[in-house]
């Protein structure tokens, strides 16, 4: 199943930034990550959808921060010293996603990525791009564009 040949156009190597949520490790495409910030106070926005934690000021720019745990259907957790806001670009927008911690950047060959189980009817199941074994643990790869619907992305544009 796995292709052990060297990197080629048929089997490109992709880099993934990994982060932790609720003791599991997730990966997002490094090309979509702009920077990783320590947790700073997030100003709530009245009337915002439940998946929006609020906004932060990033060098003069307003960035909306998404409650990733809520989006993934996970229970909320305390903010710790390891909590990070990952600034990403998805659907032509820059947003922040709150994660428990950021781990590392891993290199994965496309052939190493396996399809995720497709048994979930939950909307959130759509943004699982695949899974991959790396360093003895299972990485869950997330497709950020699908983390929200087009309408939700459009709503975010308004903040």
């Amino acid at each position: 199943m796995k292709n052990s040949s060297a990197q080629s156009s048929d089997d490109p190597v992709l880099q993934w930034v990994t982060f932790r949520l609720d003791d599991e490790t997730y990966g997002i495409n490094v090309m979509q990550v702009q920077e990783v910030l320590r947790y700073s106070e997030i100003a709530p926005v009245p009337g915002a959808p439940s998946y929006v934690l609020g906004i932060i000021n990033l060098r003069g720019n307003v960035v909306t921060v998404i409650d990733t745990r809520q989006r993934f259907g996970l229970p909320s957790a305390e903010i710790t010293d390891n909590t990070r806001i990952v600034i990403i670009e998805a659907d032509k927008q820059v947003v922040g996603i709150l994660v428990d911690s950021v781990a590392e950047v891993v290199y994965l060959r496309e052939s190493e990525i396996e399809t995720a189980p497709n048994v979930g009817n939950d909307e959130a199941a759509k943004f699982i791009q695949g899974v991959c074994n790396k360093n003895g643990e299972l990485l869950i790869l997330v497709e950020l564009e699908k983390m929200m619907s087009e309408q939700e992305w459009a709503e975010l544009d308004g903040f």
């Binding site: 993934f72 259907g73 396996e114 497709n118 048994v119 979930g120 959130a124 199941a125 643990e137 299972l138």
Partner: protein, 234 residues
Amino acid sequence: MMKTNKSQTALQNYLDGLLQEAEIEQFNEPKPVMLEEKPLAPVLLPTFTTPKIVVEQQVETKIDIEMQPELQPVVDEKPAWSQQPFECLLFDVAGLTLAVPLICLGSIYQLSEDDITPIFAQPEWFVGIMSTPAGNLKVLDTARWVMPERYNPELRKDFSFVISIDGHEWGLAVNQVRNSILLRPDEVKWRLKRGQRAWLAGTVIEHMCALLDVEALAKLITDKDKRVTVDKSL
């Protein structure tokens, strides 16, 4: 000893339920021939004195739709392996003993903590993914499939093994693996028309166990897998 009693009680209740519903169906379907042959006799409701009741052909148990993982197609025949004596592995799930033909099994993996990675936004019967030397296994909460009506989430803590299904990327989470037995086809009360519980090939009273049709189970899961894939691509 306590565990054995619990297991037997659970199976007995389970089988009693199937038998009871089969009897009710039989009760509701009197044979018209009897009335024609004895027109002067008082009209009697059929009795249950027949020594052998063909349970499997008539059983349709009621399952809570919310809990049921799958709308199941009718399986209308015995599995291919049922034509001659076959070896089965016995294992326990939520107090019920299940038998699976060895020919349908892949490997047995002992579970330790953190072996299974849960995936968010999946149905409750999907436990998670387990990495094995043979690749990633999608692990099914067997208890929720087999006995959804008496499922208790606490049972999940007692999973000790995952049994992989030969030729599929699915594995069954089970509480305990027991011994293997050799079954003759005539020892099994086969279910020939299977609507609900298409995965239940039959029951083996002598061993107080339910016999799984693993292929039918795997087909139910993979069909669902494919259906959701199509839905997601829309």
